[in-house]
């Protein structure tokens, strides 16, 4: 089990589409991240060449935004909210449970690339505290049982994409 294979043809096509664009860096990086799930470090140099900027600049932008990652992530990226409201409602315990359930520390990805565990400062849904996001879906008013159920939905056995 490894990370998703990189489709270099598609990647090259995306880069070619944005070639010589003046403000194309972030949209281009977003498209790559969308396609592959992360920005492969090997893509930095071709991106820089296409946009006529330095590779070090591209890397600087990638590592500045937490939305971009240079490492492959799991199929399900879990973001546990650690904002004030969620904290008051017990998000520390939620995170602890999550770490135990997934056997991951913050920022880690499971060896089978199924799960990545992250924390965020606030998801902006404080009325649902404690909350978390898995990929693009919100889950609010979490309880230990709900956490287990949600994780069950995304576990490998459930199969499809």
């Amino acid at each position: 089990m490894g990370p998703k294979e990189i489709d270099w043809n598609k990647l090259t096509a995306i880069i070619a589409k944005h070639k010589k664009e003046k403000w194309g860096l972030i949209p281009l990086l977003q498209e790559i991240q969308e396609l592959i799930g992360y920005i492969p470090p090997e893509a930095i140099e071709p991106v820089a060449e296409a946009l006529n900027i330095y590779p070090s600049e591209v890397q600087g932008v990638v590592t500045f935004y937490s939305g971009f990652s240079l490492h492959p992530k799991g199929k399900a990226v879990v973001k546990v909210c650690r904002g004030t409201a969620c904290h008051v409602k017990g998000s520390r315990s939620i995170l602890k449970l999550m770490k135990k359930e997934l056997d991951l520390e913050e920022g880690e990805t499971s060896p089978d690339y199924q799960f990545t565990l992250e924390t965020v400062a606030c998801l902006g849904a404080c009325f649902l505290a404690p909350t978390m996001m898995v990929n693009r879906d919100y889950f609010g008013k979490l309880s230990p049982t709900k956490v287990t159920t949600v994780l069950g939905q995304y576990s490998k056995d459930k199969g499809e994409q």
Partner: protein, 857 residues
């Protein structure tokens, strides 16, 4: 553009009491700020306290010492203890490369290194990585500098306010005692240096960072780190005389200066009286000062009555430069590099300034970033190609050296077709356009494309790019040292005239000079065919003036040039040779042939600073001084005369070269006593109109230009008519061309930025040696496959003149059939491949390329 980083520049608005960063707050009307209020001071102090809390407490061993700006500011603001919990942000110490130590624990994130890298030298090796507390300047993939695109110019290092970047100098790790200004002695850019010294030893070199220098805050790896040669044990420390004691004639015995000068003067006069004045020759130096070159050629002409005087710049395409000089009446002599950033378009031909003259490449890349269109034509893809608006990959077929001519003519024809010639300029300043334009209209575009290997579409686009613009040309060794250099230069001049460029600011013809004073040596008459001030020997009035002044007779016949000296030695016509600061056994083609020729001489004097190959065969060795150990002036490739004073005294019993030449002149009977540099300077200033601006107190002066010898940058005022030359086709028949089946590859000799010239000095620099470069030849992977050579294999490169052994490195950007051979490695052995003379082309033998074959070992 100001950039806000550290926040120490806070000021207080008088009206609102707001504290704001002065560097990025725009000035508005009626604004009034206070810079030194108690509030502002508290803010500054707090910011600095936080910085110090994050800083490791290693000041005791930090090489930045008292130059650390963090420490200086702490002292000024009265911060001793921070009373904060120390949270040093430890990072791995990086010192794998021999030049720069990176200790990013000490980084204050001011961003100066990044801005130097992006905005001054335009390399882009580093940028901020990560965010917040973790943020640091970093290379791509956060690897060591040696694995990045870093060129080790060290500009970042000189700017770093703390010890985050420091020189990797095993010999000295503190603040130098003192610092003095000097001019770099490597390439022809002539950078201003701040040379740091302790106990008469140069221990650190930084850019002078003065507005009146070429380089300002930048330098290159040689200027910054290769000055280690000044302290090498290879330095010559005392005069030596060869003792002919019967059986063992190879002993060199130390001698006093008086004895050595006596022998030199005595032997030279003896040879002259026995064999005539044509039997002695003087090989001067493109590295020595103007004053020394003046004195040197005066000794040759006035005291030994011979025009046999030359200097090392002969090898760098002097015939081509002379042609330019003559055709433009010296208009192109003045070509400030500042002009490049103001140019409408720049055409770079056969030049790789990123290696040969790095500071010029910074100018070009900055110009490109500012939007100046750059057209780059070369047969090897250079670093500049990435910054160009048009990259013209000139083909390297068997007769490719003519391709540049075809290319220039082709572009001229396309521009003429687009009616993009400057009719007004042509009418006012030029002659012969009718014939030229008629020739152009007959050119076949397909043929141009075929000969140059460049697509018709690309040629068209390039012409479109240049249309209606004045063009600045940058000409490198790819033109100067090739066989058809003269014809190519004619084509350059034609294109320059046609576009109305020559003589305008921002549209000069810049000739890259490989040696620091090759321009000055020529200006001072250290050449066989001209007197000081570039006055030709054949011109009676010029010659008579000098004859009167020196009270001697000067022959109107040109003397021997560098190559002719070797040939004359071979034939036994030359008996005595005085070599000043040159190393012909390393810098000339066919070193074995040179060695045999020099062995036939009766007497060789070598005046040098290092124990070179040539010093080994000398009869008398005179130890001279390096540029930092003497005063004088150098003239750079722009026509800028730069004076400097000694920084440290010469080592041992070595003397400044002008002193040595002065005492020799006196011994040879010169009535003038050159007791000080001032005497020589006065003479030059009065007698050479081009150098009337030369002055010790004025560190930067400019050579006077044009017929009227005015020191006036608007050269158009001189009203000289320049004529077009006829169009020459590029497919010149060179008769004895070697068959491409026997020697299937075109080898191009290239310079690398870590070495200067033939590498005599840089080859003695500890840190350059520590880099462990092997000087691999480069080959396209396809050619490697055909010959079943793998990357890293060792091969024999064989030409009709000789052979060398080198490792191979694949370069997928090289055309098939082309290899590149770096100069200055293994005693500059690449010279074995080149022929010293070409029977058909005595003037331009072509030392840029040769035909070779590769043999796998």
């Amino acid at each position: 553009m100001p950039v806000a980083t550290v926040g120490l520049c806070v000021v207080e608005d008088e009206k609102t009491g707001r504290v704001m960063a002065s560097c990025v707050t725009p000035v508005v009307s009626e604004m009034s700020v206070r810079t030194d209020t108690p509030r502002v001071k508290i803010h500054r102090k707090n910011i600095l306290r936080l910085m110090i809390a994050e800083h490791p407490e290693s000041c005791v061993v930090c090489s930045k010492g008292n130059r650390c700006q963090l420490r200086q500011l702490a002292a000024q603001l009265g911060i001793g203890e921070t009373h904060l919990y120390p949270m040093p942000n430890y990072k791995t110490l990086e010192q794998a490369n021999p030049f720069i130590i990176r200790d990013l624990s000490k980084c204050v994130l001011c961003g100066k290194c990044i801005r130097a890298d992006h905005e001054l030298v335009v390399v882009g090796a580093i940028d901020y990585n990560l965010r917040g507390f973790k943020s640091r300047p970093s290379t791509i993939h956060d690897r060591g500098l040696e694995h990045s695109s870093c060129t080790f110019c060290g500009t970042c290092l000189s700017m770093c306010p703390t010890g985050a970047l420091s020189p990797n100098n095993p010999g000295y790790t503190a603040t130098p005692e003192r610092e003095s200004f000097s001019i770099c002695g490597f390439c022809g850019v002539g950078c201003g240096l701040a040379m740091g010294y302790t106990n008469s030893r140069i221990v650190e070199v930084n850019p002078a960072n003065r507005p009146d220098t070429v380089n300002r805050a930048t330098l290159c790896v040689r200027g910054h780190f290769a000055h280690d040669f000044l302290n090498t044990h290879e330095r010559l420390l005392q005069p030596m005389i060869r003792q002919h004691t019967g059986s063992d004639e190879n002993t060199m015995a130390p001698a006093s200066w008086d004895a050595a000068i006596d022998v030199v003067a005595g032997r030279l006069l003896e040879i002259k009286s026995k064999n005539g004045s044509q039997s002695v020759a003087f090989l001067g130096s493109s590295k020595c000062t103007n004053e020394e070159n003046y004195l040197f050629q005066k000794i040759a002409r006035a005291l030994l009555k011979t025009n046999n005087v030359d200097n090392g710049s002969y090898l760098s395409g002097r015939h081509v430069i002379n042609l330019l000089e003559k055709r433009t009446n010296g208009l192109s002599r003045l070509s400030p590099l500042d002009w490049l950033e103001k140019a409408q378009a720049v055409f770079v031909l056969g030049a790789d300034p990123g290696h040969s003259t790095p500071v010029v490449s910074y100018y070009l890349k900055r110009a490109s970033k500012k939007g100046v269109p750059l057209v780059v034509a070369d047969s090897i893809r250079t670093d500049l190609a990435a910054f160009s608006s048009a990259w013209l990959d000139v083909s390297t077929q068997s007769d490719f050296e003519g391709s540049y001519i075809e290319l220039l003519n082709g572009l001229a024809a396309l521009l003429y077709e687009k009616k993009a010639h400057d009719a007004h300029y042509i009418k006012q300043f030029t002659e012969g356009f009718k014939q030229y334009s008629d020739d152009l209209s007959t050119l076949d575009r397909e043929q141009v494309s075929l000969a140059t290997g460049i697509d018709v579409g690309v040629l068209n686009a390039t012409a479109e790019l240049l249309k209606g613009k004045k063009i600045a040309f940058v000409i490198g060794s790819g033109i100067l040292q090739q066989r058809f250099g003269m014809q190519t230069m004619e084509a350059v001049i034609n294109l320059s005239l046609m576009t109305g460029s020559l003589g305008s600011e921002g549209a000069g013809i810049h000739i890259l000079a490989k040696e620091n004073n090759q321009v000055g040596a020529q200006d001072m008459g250290a050449v066989p065919d001209a007197l000081p001030g570039r006055q030709p020997l054949y011109n009676d009035s010029d010659r008579n003036r000098w004859e009167q002044f020196w009270q001697t007779e000067i022959s109107p016949q040109s003397g021997l040039n560098m190559i002719q000296m070797i040939e004359a030695a071979e034939k036994g016509n030359l008996k005595g040779l005085y070599i000043l600061g040159e190393n012909p056994l390393r810098s000339l083609p066919q070193p074995d042939r040179v060695r045999k020729a020099l062995a036939k001489l009766d007497f060789i004097v070598v005046q040098d600073i290092l124990n070179t190959e040539t010093v080994q065969i000398a009869d008398v060795v005179l130890p001279g001084a390096a540029f930092s150990e003497k005063g004088g002036s150098f003239t750079n490739m722009e026509g800028r005369i730069q004076s400097f004073d000694p920084v440290v005294p010469p080592p041992g019993d070595a003397h400044p070269d002008w002193e040595i030449l002065g005492s020799l002149a006196a011994k040879l009977g010169d009535p003038n006593q050159y007791a000080s540099l001032g005497h020589i300077r006065d003479e030059i200033r009065i007698r050479v109109p081009m150098y009337k601006a030369l002055d010790r107190h004025n560190h930067t002066a400019w050579v006077a230009v044009g017929d009227h010898r005015q020191s006036d940058k608007d050269t158009k005022k001189t009203k000289t008519m320049v004529s077009f030359s006829p169009v020459v086709p590029g497919d010149i028949d060179i008769g004895d061309e070697l068959s491409t089946t026997d020697y299937p590859f075109t080898a191009i000799m290239v310079s690398v930025r870590y070495h200067c010239g033939s590498g005599t000095r840089t080859g003695c620099s500890d840190r350059i040696l520590k880099l462990g470069l092997r000087g691999e030849i480069e080959l396209s992977p396809q050619d490697g496959e055909t010959l079943s050579i793998r990357d890293g294999d060792t091969v024999r490169v064989v030409s009709s003149s000789g052979a060398i052994k080198r490792q191979v490195r694949f370069n997928k950007r090289l055309r098939q059939g082309t290899i590149s051979i770096p100069l200055a490695f293994n005693g500059n052995d690449a010279m074995n491949l080149l022929a010293m003379t070409q029977p058909d082309m005595p003037d331009s033998p072509g030392w840029k390329t040769c035909r070779v074959k590769l043999e796998k070992i």
